[in-house]
């Protein structure tokens, strides 16, 4: 409801100031109205979960671009350059205004009807497509293939490894996993939009579909941990603490029932951890040490506990799979991630375009200098009348006799001397 009120007020202001921009006679007033419209659109970006775009809108549009406009308007003195009555040129285009009005109004009508008839806006917003991966805990048996609704999720996932995420269509999904020995397992689930799942393969060909929590880690410098128990009795995750201090062990996640995943826990990355998986029945007996685990910030870690067959006997094991948590929608982090992965080439092209535009602007506005640089011929032309000046001072022609000519030459040299030195 609040969003609707904000939308109506801000959207109305955007339209009102756009109309003001169109109708204003003074170009400066138009520019100021456009700035207000752009700020209104920035507020709407905030309402659309796009805080980064809202910031760009204000800094680049309302800041840089509009300042450039105002600068040019004031540089040219173009506030009221166009007379209100049609000039000489406008007479040719008198038929144009009604045509333009008709065209734009029909565009508005056609577009409005299309939007109203479309299904674009009904219902809630929809998240991105769900994603799926394979985590194989068995040591020997490679997962030959895994398909979901006939779409291949992964091929040849080696033992104790995981595949990357694959995007799927949402809805009821049948996951079929084929093991190396030819056996197939099927799991069915309804997979919603915006979710992530792992297909776990562990023990004697058991397959489970576990949801992954890839939502942004909200605490600073923290990582998220989830433990899935594929063992046949309840297990706990215990931090045994420092080896130097006796009895400082504590339970991190207690009593995870077989076949279930624990609730996620979030830990800061500056804590030292010395984790072990223990059975709930005997917390002092370590099933599997996780001593080398570290908290990685902004990452979601799945610890799968299970059994593996090795050398004719089964023994407990665990596998740690760490995934980058998704950045929050529309955040600068998400935009940056997108920019430097999927959109790197367009981004670089854009940099080239900006460079070309900059060079183009410099070339277009460059005007060859009209300032005259004096040459030696110019100096001659200036100094020659000096002879006449001297003649008028002396009272007769300086070149009358040889002696007088010599005197005049000396006088001329003296007059020119500072200039020669000046060279």
């Amino acid at each position: 409801m609040t969003e609707l009120i904000v939308f109506i007020i801000v959207g109305g202001a955007a339209v009102a100031f756009a109309v003001t921009m169109l109708l204003s006679d003074n170009a400066v007033h138009s520019a100021l109205s456009l700035i207000v419209t752009m700020v209104c659109i920035a507020v709407l970006f905030l309402a659309l979960n796009a805080p980064f775009l809202a910031m760009i809108q204000i800094t680049v549009y309302a800041g840089a671009i509009m300042v450039l406009f105002l600068f040019v308007i004031m540089l040219l003195g173009a506030e009221k350059l166009i007379p209100t009555s049609p000039g000489e040129g406008a007479r040719h285009y008198r038929w144009f205004a009604p045509l333009a009005l008709t065209l734009t109004m029909s565009l508005l009508l056609a577009g409005g009807l299309t939007i109203l008839q479309s299904q674009a806006g009904d219902g809630d917003t929809q998240g991105p497509n769900p994603i799926l991966r394979v985590v194989n805990l068995t040591r020997d048996g490679a997962v030959v293939s895994a398909t979901a609704n006939g779409i291949n999720v992964a091929d040849d996932v080696i033992g104790r490894g995981s595949s990357g995420y694959i995007e799927l269509a949402p809805g009821d999904t049948d996951v079929i996993v084929t093991s190396e020995d030819g056996t197939t397992q099927t799991v069915s689930a309804n997979i919603a939009r915006g979710t992530a799942h792992s297909i776990l393969v562990y023990g004697a060909g058991v397959v489970a579909l576990v949801p992954d929590d890839l939502s942004p880690v909200l605490q600073d410098r923290s990582g998220r941990f989830v433990v899935y128990n594929g063992y046949d009795e309840p297990v706990s995750l215990v931090d045994f603490g420092s080896d130097l201090i006796e009895d400082d062990s504590r339970v991190v996640i207690a009593d995870i029932a077989p076949g279930t995943a624990s609730a996620p826990i979030t830990l800061r990355d500056d804590v030292n951890i010395n984790w072990r998986i223990v059975t709930t029945a005997d917390p002092t007996e370590s099933l599997y040490p996780l001593a080398e685990t570290e908290v990685e910030r902004d990452r979601s870690t799945l610890i799968v506990v299970g059994e593996e067959a090795a050398l004719g006997e089964t023994r407990p094991t665990a596998l740690i799979v760490t995934t980058e948590a998704r950045p929050a929608f529309g955040s600068p982090r998400a935009i940056g991630y997108s920019l430097f992965t999927d959109f790197l080439l367009p981004f670089q092209m854009l940099a080239l375009l900006l460079l070309a535009a900059m060079v183009g602007v410099i070339v277009m506005t460059h005007r060859p200098s009209t300032k005259h640089i004096p040459t030696s011929a110019d100096r001659r032309r200036v100094s020659r009348p000096l002879v006449n000046v001297i003649a008028s001072q002396v009272g007769h022609e300086v070149t009358q006799t040889d002696a007088e000519a010599e005197a005049a030459r000396v006088a001329l040299l003296q007059a020119e001397a500072p200039e020669v030195v000046g060279k």
Partner: protein, 100 residues
């Protein structure tokens, strides 16, 4: 939660206003400002669709449109300054040397 439809309608109204400005105003600087308004209207539609589908690609397009608009404004205003120098006018109706 405001529906995507509402954002699209607002975006289209702003776009049509921008079109009117481009077609009817005779001050070249105002024509440029109207083009900016049209670009802003499309940005709003892109951001609305982006929220609707939960995908960041729309945000990326808005980012690129804003950057290209900055380059376009720089070149366009340089053109206007150059035209003003030679013709002492930025009335676009006076610029019809190219007509046959």
């Amino acid at each position: 939660m405001v529906q995507t439809e509402a954002y699209l309608m607002l975006s289209m109204v702003l776009f049509v206003l921008g079109t009117l400005g481009v077609l009817l105003r005779r001050n070249a600087i105002l024509v440029f400002m109207s083009v900016e308004l049209m670009l802003n209207a499309t940005n709003l539609a892109l951001a609305a669709f982006s929220r609707q589908w939960g995908s960041e690609n729309g945000h990326m397009f808005v980012f690129f449109v804003v950057t290209v608009a900055a380059a376009e404004v720089a070149v366009g205003l340089a053109l206007i300054v150059a035209i003003f120098r030679s013709k002492r006018s930025i009335d676009i109706d006076e610029l019809h040397q190219l007509e046959g």
